[in-house]
Every structure is written in structure tokens, then in C-alpha cells.
Amino acid sequence: MEDTSHPRINRRELLVYGAGVPVVAHCEAAPQETNAMNPAPVPHVESAHRVSLQVNGKARHLELDPRTTLLDALREHLHLTGTKKGCDHGQCGACTVIVDGRRLNSCLTLAVMHGGAQVVTVEGLGTPAAMHPMQTAFVKHDGFQCGYCTPGQICSAVAVLDEIKQGIPSHVTHDLMVRPMSSADELRERMSGNLCRCGAYANIVDAISGVAGGSA
């Protein structure tokens, strides 16, 4: 069936639209050659956008199609394949990374929207030789089976403890005016955006509790 969900752009709109496009070139890409005497009837739309990010403390410069999600930029362009693509629709949390101190679903955001951002992936939290306490805790408490959701779980968990420390309330926080604690109930609610098909949830809560309590 034909999808007519959006009115077709008519010829006039297309021309108006085309005429405005150089703004893209102006703000994002190398200026185009313009000739005032012979302006191009349909300006060329820059397909590649330059994006500079700090990823795990390193400056990275990319030229990307604007459709590139932050997840695909990390995995396909920077070859940081620790971050996983699960559902690709923001439902499973496998793609969770920390951007400017906050966890987000990297599949549901465009890389071009994050110029200048500080991105931390599971590779940036620790290395096999020098693991982050949360990584150590997941190993100690057996917080995974197949491991596919684990990088997202770990990034999310690190950010969750920070959110609790900042006093950000959750759905299960009893009193909005009282600083939340890192109870098992709080951790379960705050981790609900990270699914684990193996069902390692109980051990994941133990691992995060261990770090929260300083006994990982």
C-alpha cells in the first residue's frame, strides 16, 4: 500500500525548500562555491557532515551522513563494538552510553546532534587489565549470561549510581523531597530500560548494590 502519511512536497515548496538549504552548508560543511551571476537552480545538499566528538577521552573527527545514529558512528565508524545494537528502537537499552555525564540510548540519537560532546562507552570505563568497579562487580556477581546486554547494563548502572548521588528521584522514590537511596527497589526501577533476555536481573541488582555499598 502506498504510504501517504505526509503530504507530497509540491513544486513550489521544493523550490522554496531547496533555496534555504545552503544554510546547511554554511553551518556544517565546507562552504560551497557560489556564483552570484549563475546561481544553481537546485543547490547541492551536503550529504556528509563533519562531527567532532570526545570518545573515551580521545578527540575523534568524522564525516557522516546525517542519518548516522550515535550508535552506528561508534560501532561502524570508530569500531568501538563494545556498545551493542539490540532492538535499534530504544526499547532494550543494549546501546546505552554516557554522553556529557548522562546515559542515553545511542540508537535513538543522531551523531550530528552531538558535536563537541563527551561520550563514554564500555571501552572507556575500564580495560581488561584495569576494570571499572562496576565491571568487576558484574564479573563477581555473575551479572550476565550471554553478555550481549552487558555493556549497556554496565554503562546504565554507572550512570544510575550517579543519578542517585545527584538526588534525582525515581518512580519508586517514596518522598520526592527526601534524597533517594540505592535500595534494590530503586535500582530495579532505574534499570528498567535495560532488558536482559537471559534473565540475569537478580545478579545485576546484586552487582550494582555491591558497588553502591562499596563492597564490590
Partner: protein
């Protein structure tokens, strides 16, 4: 995802003006948590994206009227965590925290939350008719699986619901939506008038005109009372509401309430507000007047009454 061109707006007025060049083909993008999902499914296929993240509309400020002005780009996490919101407009914090996941709330914005599209399964299935996605194609939901769908304000064209929680709390607080238009003119839309009922044009979901841009949402001065948001859903977390009730209840049992999950807009009636002191049965009857459920979602009427009952009991302490 269909290809699109991308640019950043520098001011709200510029954002509206940029969109006005080709309103039907352009979309503003802020958090993108709903829009990009829909673009991947090719339910939304904009030719042009206008990134509005750099506009500085990310502050919450006190108003001269004693209320709060919430910038359009304030993230759901920040709005829920703001001390003034937690203290004086608790129902709004509660509603936000009942929605989505921590990751999504960190990105999703105040204006974007108001503009999120329905989660009707037939809107999402591009192989089936949907008057909202494809005007004139029909509604597969009315004869289909309608368990999650509307019981109030629906039409023969569409029985989709507004899926959000935040707007339900804003409805009970009598929030106002502030916008700027491509000509630079501004206006204020009461939240009661912001979401449209489907009628025979369910693809038109809000009172916004083409290219009109939301700059802020304001809350009037605090209402006092006990603030409650009760959400009933299939899972304990990270699921859309079957029914939700936002309520502000005063000591004498009077107050106001709005419901989510029942219609294409948060549902509130003066008659239900007036009936609250008489108990949940009276309030539910008043709120649900004119309800036309399907066989599959008639349970929502009973659930609404029971949820109001739970809210009123909680308010009594």
C-alpha cells in the same frame, strides 16, 4: 531511514522561519526519542530536520504570577528533579517519573513529550490502514486489537490515545503552551486546547499551525494539596498507561483530576472535579460520561473508577 538534510537553528524565531520554507517536509528535532524511532520505521519521512537543541530553552524560571516557566528543551529528567517542581507541582514530577526509562527521560524534552505520537499498534504497522498515518486509508484498530485504545472522544476515523504521562499532569495543573510562529508572532495555548480530538482528521493532533514552534510551558501558581499520579500498566515499569490518574486533592476532599490512556488528549471534566468529594463512583461516572468503549477496552471504565478510588484513598493517607 529516508535521507534528509539537516541544519541547526540558532533562535526560536529562526527555527520557525526555517520550518516555514517547507512545513510538511520539515521536522524539528530535540531529544529525537520518538521521531527517530518513527523515521526508522518510515512512518515519519521528513526531507529536512531542524535541530533545535542549541536554542537555550533549557531553563526553568519563576514567573511573576508565582508559577514556573519551563523551557521547551528542559529534559524530562531535569523537570522531574527540579526542586520547585518536586515541592510545589509534585504530580508533574510523579507523571514524568512514571514514563519511559531513565535513558529516554535524559533525552526527551518538555515540548517533544507533548508532541509524541500515539503508540496505537496500527499506526506503527505500515502494512495496515491508519487514518492518522495515511489519511483516508481507514482505521484497522476499531475492529482490531483495541485493548489499549480510546474509550472517550474517539471517532469513526480513529481510536488512538495520546500515550504520554506528562501532559496528563499538565492538564490537571492548567498549564499553558507558548509558541512562536514563522512571522515572529507569539501565542499561548491552554493545555486543554492543545491536543485535538480525532474527528475526521486524526492526522492533525495538536492546535499547532504548520511551522509553529513551542518555546515554553508555564505552570500557574502552586495549588497546594496532595499531588498524586497513579499509573496502571501491564508492567511495573517502562510501559505505557492503560489508565492513569493525575490528581490534586485538598484536605476537604475537593480537588481536580485528569485521566490518561482514555483518549487522544488528557481527559478532564468540570463535573468530575466537582464530584471528587462525593467519592470515586461519582467522579468516575462524571469523568466517563459519553464513553464508547470497544469490547476489548471496556475494562478501562471499571479500571478508571478503581484507580480514582485508589487515588482518593491515598490522598486521605
Amino acid at each position: 531511514m529516508k535521507s534528509f538534510s539537516y541544519e541547526r537553528a540558532r533562535t526560536p524565531a529562526e527555527a520557525a522561519a526555517l520550518a516555514a520554507r517547507a512545513p510538511a517536509a520539515s521536522r524539528f528535532i530535540a531529544g529525537g526519542t520518538n521521531l527517530l524511532d518513527l523515521m526508522k520505521l518510515q512512518i515519519e519521512t521528513p526531507a529536512h530536520l531542524i535541530d533545535v537543541n542549541g536554542l537555550g530553552l533549557d531553563r526553568i524560571e519563576a514567573t511573576a504570577m508565582g508559577g514556573l516557566r519551563i523551557g521547551a528543551l528542559v529534559r524530562n529528567t531535569d523537570l522531574a528533579a527540579d526542586e520547585r517542581v518536586r515541592r510545589d507541582h509534585g504530580v508533574l514530577s510523579r507523571a514524568l517519573l512514571a514514563g519511559a526509562s531513565g535513558q529516554l527521560r535524559n533525552r526527551a524534552t518538555t515540548a517533544g513529550n507533548l508532541l509524541q505520537r500515539t503508540r496505537c499498534p496500527y499506526f506503527y504497522d505500515v502494512n495496515l490502514p491508519c487514518n492518522k498515518r495515511s489519511p483516508g486509508s481507514g482505521c484497522a484498530a476499531i475492529q482490531g486489537s483495541s485493548r489499549s485504545l480510546a474509550v472517550l472522544g474517539a471517532s469513526a476515523s480513529c481510536i488512538a490515545t495520546h500515550p504520554g504521562d506528562m501532559a496528563v499532569a499538565m492538564r490537571v495543573l492548567d498549564a499553558e503552551v507558548h509558541t512562536i510562529r514563522p512571522d515572529g508572532g507569539t501565542r499561548t495555548i491552554p493545555i486543554a486546547d492543545f491536543h485535538r480530538l480525532p474527528g475526521d482528521s486524526p492526522h492533525l493532533e495538536t492546535a499547532l499551525e504548520p511551522a509553529e514552534f513551542i518555546t515554553a510551558v508555564t505552570l500557574p501558581r502552586p495549588l497546594g494539596g496532595t499531588h498524586i499520579y497513579r499509573k496502571v500498566r501491564d508492567r511495573a515499569s517502562y510501559a505505557f498507561a492503560l489508565v492513569s490518574i493525575a490528581a490534586v486533592v485538598q484536605r476537604d476532599g475537593t480537588g481536580r483530576l485528569a485521566a490518561g490512556g482514555l483518549a487522544a488528549r488528557p481527559w478532564r471534566t468540570d463535573t468530575a472535579d466537582a464530584a471528587m468529594a462525593s467519592g470515586s463512583k461519582a467522579a468516575a461516572e462524571a469523568l466517563l460520561a459519553g464513553a464508547k468503549p470497544t469490547q476489548e477496552n471496556a475494562f478501562k471504565l471499571v479500571l478508571t473508577e478503581r484507580t480514582i478510588g485508589a487515588v482518593l484513598a491515598q490522598a486521605k493517607g
